[in-house]
Symmetry: C2
Subunit: 463 residues, 2 copies
């Protein structure tokens, strides 16, 4: 039975875990939400375990008190996946920051859930290896796994789904399970690994992750292309994907983003629909691919705006892409973002982006559009001025239209940001026939509904 | 309540589905098992639906009669995944043979479960596309999906897991669910697609599959290399995987297999541990990769035994690989195979293979060893003479030792053949901590335990 005061569960947690249980109001307030516009309420306490066993202890105690458990990684989520309620416990995994194993010959790494992508890459670099998957912002491996994140490299390396091969997780009753393994493939039994990837902590708390790692390429070359129209950009991407080219990354920036970047960090390209294209491999291979792409690009009237083969210059150019959101926000002082994250079949991309752009323009909003266009995934980042409920409501309405059109086009309401608390209703529309099965699985693994309740899967109607 | 005669369920199926319900004894006997040594009992009837709705009708009727449903694709399984019991219904999906959609620009295809890999490729070829994943033998897409199959191309294209993006399935109560979608990525909700991939029909009957498809490469070049030792072969593969090379396929054949092939199809290579290595891409890219690999191979004292860049010549060489099993069986007239299918971290591969070889030699058995060595996956194919229970028991004992050593090395009891009825006990060892969660999911989705019972997941103890 849930306690309304929460004193009992906090006392029990403190008895078991001591100073790992924190109740300072400022910390509780800080951990109540992620980077999105979704707001939570300060939780009863913030627990900062350092091991799977400590997570298991915490979850077992919460289970005994029927207290909701909200896991949290680096707090960089964009759909309210880690927002807490006043009666919940925040399980802050940021102290689980140990890289447990780098198996260079077997090309996997095993990390605690709180390890940041940058820390993992620092551990891999001496072995000539890397973990290239994830968002532009640095984030925890556990959080990225829980939201099935991806980013600019998914077109070549896949998402977290394709790169996680095993997990350790704590289930709702406090039992610890290990799923998957360390081999490159397996067909042994139910794939619990991928049931937990993207479940956002609603079926269990991910405490350790085993990921595939990849050789650092000898060379990478990024080039920037200006296109006459968005449709031409999309067509060029489809043609490149269907060719023998192996695209490492291909990103779309709209005119507003290009303009904002010039003001923000001095990157000046022609104000036009812009593609950033990267090839990886040996120097000769990259040169040959670039030449082949140039020929293709010219048939779509693309013009080369910039290119870089040196590591530093490439990093500077990619920083421009990662600055897209802050650059757009800098157009309106004090603003916060709301971000659409739909993914459509690539053949539908130009139409979907143009329709979103028209909605934004018709409503008089400021919003940048960027896309992982090789995957058909694009973001509309609505810039929300402070204390402006009218703009907020307008953005929300457009976001819903963007999602509705994506679903009509056979797409998904979220390519990589997850469902969180923001897209539960959209998911119910997207997966209408599968929701009862999802609810049955949730009920089977979390009968008290204490694992990040209210996120991802709509509640099951009580009989 | 299950009926002992089965007359009721067959009558009800016949009333609903008419001539799709077949009860000829010879057909029932034929559909009682797959290609493995596992034997089933003739089922009550064989139902051959042509649509998802007909599958749903059949499952609903079986559910009402508490009658087990055993789905069957092309019947090419190797672990008894589709063996039937005398009280079950065989749901033979081979008539569901329609390619429903080829989306060339969006690079996916949607097929009915019974479509053969060869038929899918015939439909894709005019678009310059292919579906390269799957075993050497032709098999149904639904069956490959259900067993999480892979084959020689997994090292570059992944397994069925990485290539299935959406499914239609019929659950135990006859409801139809669609999972996943047609986009390249999504982070919306529980990944039911990958819960069903590899579940071998124990959670639902897969009726339609949406797969990623890939451009046909401009050129492919296969070369055959003789190595001084098995350990040298494994070390060369690790070095190649960690380099900038992009290996399309890399297969290991042991001396016995090489010798058997010479007799069987006249392919003569030096009798030595042998690697078949393929590169794909543009002609110049392939030539550059081959030159780089040659330099690497020579440092491991590998010698080039054969090579082919022309399509016909390559096909002839790959046929040699696909003939490995019949060639080995031809050594003993009338023999049948039992096949180990373990996967280990690649660093453990040489040791695992050598230990298996020693076991085989010590027992005086005939067994060929081949491996998808880029994945750490290898097969020991024990040649079982007819009516020879002693050899059968010896092979079984070695198979168990091969699996036990694989698990000790951090590997899996099955890389691609699935669990079926043959490896349930091994899976329980491999996933000890996760079995209760698997049982809870099975119980939630199939409370009567009618979906391919006895396969994959060990039965839940009754309270």
């Amino acid at each position: 039975m849930a306690e309304t005061s929460g004193d009992g569960v906090v006392a029990a947690l403190t008895e078991a875990l001591g100073e790992l249980v924190l109740t300072e109001p400022s910390l509780r307030a800080e951990k109540a939400q992620d980077r999105s516009y979704h707001r939570g309420e300060p939780p009863l306490a913030v627990v900062q375990p350092r091991s799977t066993d400590e997570v298991a202890d915490a979850v077992r105690i919460c289970s005994l008190h029927s207290t909701p458990v909200v896991p949290r990684g680096s707090g960089t989520g964009l759909e309210g996946g880690s927002t807490t309620s006043a009666q919940s416990i925040c399980l802050d995994l940021s102290q689980m920051d140990q890289v447990l194993e780098v198996a260079a010959d077997d090309m996997y790494a095993r990390v605690q859930a709180g390890v940041m992508k940058s820390s993992l890459n620092a551990a891999l670099q001496p072995h000539g290896l890397m973990f290239p998957v994830g968002p532009g912002v640095d984030a925890s491996v556990g959080g990225m796994t829980s939201t099935s994140a991806s980013g600019t490299t998914a077109v070549s390396y896949g998402t977290l789904k394709e790169n996680v091969i095993g997990l350790t997780a704590v289930l709702a009753d406090g039992t610890v399970v290990t799923t998957g393994g360390i081999t490159k493939k397996s067909s042994s039994g139910y794939d619990l690994t991928h049931l937990l990837v993207g479940a956002e902590g609603t079926l269990g708390v991910i405490t350790e992750v085993t990921v595939k790692v990849h050789p650092i390429p000898e060379t990478a070359q990024v080039s920037i292309w200006s296109l006459p129209t968005l449709a031409a950009a999309a067509e060029l991407v489809v043609a490149a994907l269907r060719s023998s080219l192996r695209i490492a990354r291909v990103e779309l920036l709209d005119e507003l983003t290009v303009g904002a970047l010039a003001d923000y960090n001095g990157m000046t390209f022609p104000v036009a629909p812009t593609l950033m294209v990267e090839f990886e491999g040996t120097a000769s291979d990259v040169a040959a691919q670039f030449a082949q792409f140039r020929t293709l690009a010219e048939t779509y009237a693309a013009t080369l705006a910039d290119e870089a083969t040196e590591v530093e210059e490439s990093a500077r150019i990619w920083q421009a892409r990662h600055d897209a959101l802050p650059a757009s926000l800098s157009l309106v002082p004090g603003s916060t973002p709301m971000i659409s994250d739909v993914c459509v079949p690539i053949s539908q991309l130009a139409e979907a982006v143009l329709a979103a752009k028209k909605d934004v323009d018709d409503a008089g909003l400021i919003a940048s559009i960027v896309g992982h266009v090789g995957d058909g995934n694009f973001h509309v980042a609505y810039v929300l001025p402070p204390e402006d409920p009218e703009t907020f409501e307008k953005a929300k309405a457009i976001n819903q239209r963007v999602v509705a059109r994506a679903l009509e086009a056979g797409g998904t309401c979220t390519g990589e940001h997850g469902i969180g608390s923001g897209k539960v209703a959209s998911m119910a529309k997207e997966h209408a026939s599968a929701i009862p099965a999802m609810q049955a699985i949730k009920q089977a693994l979390d009968p008290q509904n204490i694992m990040n309740p209210g996120k991802v899967v709509p509640p099951r109607p009580h009989p």
